[in-house]
Point group: C2
Chain length 116, copies 2
């Protein structure tokens, strides 16, 4: 068993092309012994966004704080806020945007396929 305080976990800027004002923490990952599943915590500051992309693994998302826009297929946009859960299938185009005035925070769980 591994118990962590999230506030003590290092937060890093997402350097991936297409990301802006987006920071990430690995709450539970392979260096903590989780071989199959990774739990990440994202904070998108006002004006920021994740890359608009698709990939061959799914996302399980739960909004933790603030609100934002999730962009899906055909650029469909949906506003989401604390209390929403989102499942994004493998190979589905998606992006998270924060056009609002407070941080947009969510957890995003993925299978551990060497992507953190």
């Amino acid at each position: 068993m591994k118990i962590k305080q999230n506030s003590k976990i290092k937060q890093v800027e997402v350097a991936e092309e297409g990301a802006k004002n987006t920071r990430k923490k690995i709450l539970i990952g392979s260096n903590g012994g989780s071989k199959n599943i990774i739990m990440r915590y994202f904070t998108i500051a006002p004006g920021g966004h994740s890359p608009k992309h698709s990939h061959n693994w799914e996302h399980l998302v739960k909004i933790e704080s603030g609100k934002g826009i999730v962009v899906g297929k055909d650029d469909k946009k949906v506003e989401v806020s604390e209390g929403y859960s989102i499942f994004i299938e493998a190979n589905e185009m998606h992006q998270f945007q924060n056009p609002f005035e407070e941080n947009f925070e969510f957890i995003c769980i993925i299978p551990n396929i060497n992507k953190t």
Copy 2:
């Protein structure tokens, strides 16, 4: 993409032997198309607890609200509260207890092996 409001998801009492005052919602699961990973939300009311058990799949836990006790190997007890994450390995003995006066709420992610 599937977007849900958690407040509209049905909550059920955990009927498993050894569980007390414990309710569960499936935020994202196989009936929403998630084949590999399931995200559940647990609420343990004051005086309640999950079963004390082990099984051959892991748990990725993030405390969402309140506080509780997580019991591990050799009955070691640790108090956890909002802002903590816990990784429980496959086959590790564990239990969640709520001896406090407010609901203890957490998400618990598991691989999808026909266990919800």
